[in-house]
Point group: C2
């Protein structure tokens, strides 16, 4: 029997109709879908694709514990990869659902590292939260010869300061509980008025605010965008 193919499928930033045609077709035809959940919570990727998943599809859930040490999460991906490998050896294709894009801060990388080579793996790129947030906020990100710097919010304060100071456009991912630190750095650099806070972009509950007016508590799916604004494009 020939082995199945593993598809790492980006389902985009949140709105179900921001899934690509290719991803939608793969999900609709999938007899086996896989996705991670975090510490027993719901899967955001599955929620985005829910209307496309066949009722009779088998679902492989990888529950990833939230711990500071990496070993427990690695063990969860080891187990998930084993389960997926068994399905592929059985000749089934497996469609792994990934928020945003599989290779852009996506947990699919962990499966890719474990299974690529032994199996045929195809990655379907998706719309990332960065351009989704820019669209929601009405903020052009970069044009012509401008640079874009993408930074994760958990980075240490000194590194954030150095990276933001030397940058042009900046997107800060994974804001969450790091919001007060990020706001302080951006204010210190005199950039507060250029900064926009975006939460749950493209979902019904989305929020767009000047960073100065951002809430005290930010969810994990939030972002800060810093750009020069639209004037240079005229």
């Amino acid at each position: 029997m020939s082995k199945g193919t593993l598809y790492g499928v980006g389902v985009g930033p949140g709105a179900p109709d921001l899934i690509t045609l290719r991803a939608a077709r793969l999900i609709e035809n999938a007899t086996v879908v896989a996705y991670p959940t975090l510490a027993g919570g719901d899967s955001f990727a599955r929620a985005i694709a829910a209307d496309l998943i066949r009722p009779d599809a088998r679902e492989i859930v990888m529950d990833v514990p939230m711990t500071v040490e990496r070993a427990p999460a690695q063990a969860a991906y080891d187990t998930g990869a084993d389960t997926i490998a068994a399905a592929l050896l059985n000749g089934d294709d497996v469609v792994c659902l990934c928020e945003g894009d599989p290779f852009f801060y996506g947990s699919f990388m962990y499966l890719f590292a474990r299974l690529n080579g032994d199996f045929n793996v195809e990655v379907v790129p998706g719309v990332t939260s960065i351009t989704a947030c820019a669209a929601t906020a009405g903020m052009p990100l970069v044009a012509r010869n401008e640079r874009l710097t993408v930074l994760p919010g958990p980075l240490p304060e000194a590194e954030l300061r150095a990276r933001i100071e030397g940058a042009e456009s900046v997107a800060i991912m994974k804001v969450g509980r790091h919001l007060p630190k990020l706001r302080a750095v951006i204010e210190d650099l005199g950039l507060l008025e250029q900064a926009v806070y975006v939460e749950r972009a493209t979902l019904a509950a989305e929020v767009v605010l000047p960073l100065a007016q951002a809430p005290e508590k930010a969810p994990y799916f939030s972002m800060i965008l810093l750009t020069k604004g639209a004037d240079p494009w005229l």
Copy 2:
């Protein structure tokens, strides 16, 4: 009569099935579509969406001259914006087709700067060439607390060197005729073996090669990716 809405619609990196469901629906229903062409050439954005455009749709073509001075291009966008504004005032919606994502090195920014405020403008984010190239090359871009730097190839050599040296993952856009300069900088920094060259990602003619083996001449739609590779994800 109520004014129409201007939609800036990302059509993704090249493969027609990497258009999102939302973009596909908007294009299929559009009675007026708009797109830029460069110096009388064909429109790549239109080619990507061709199968979705109604035969009876009106097409507004903005031909942008290739000149060093910016004024002639600005005049082309002024004229295009005027034509689009007239359609919107007439109550028609206008769907502007954009390669990749409208706010990520997209010419839609020029229309947005001219028409947003006077008209309702909605931006539909698309899959960018960056994650498309990463998918094609099988190269995870960034995970956890890693940084991504996006640089345009036309930047001066000294700036490229400084930006690449201090970076983690790097995506270099608009490689084209800047390939020899970029390869020299990356080789000087001792990073040649980590660098991958990708040309026309997701199209039938796509090319993926180690940068060391890249062709002498690169098309405009080519990219260099520099990452640490997949090992860290195990």
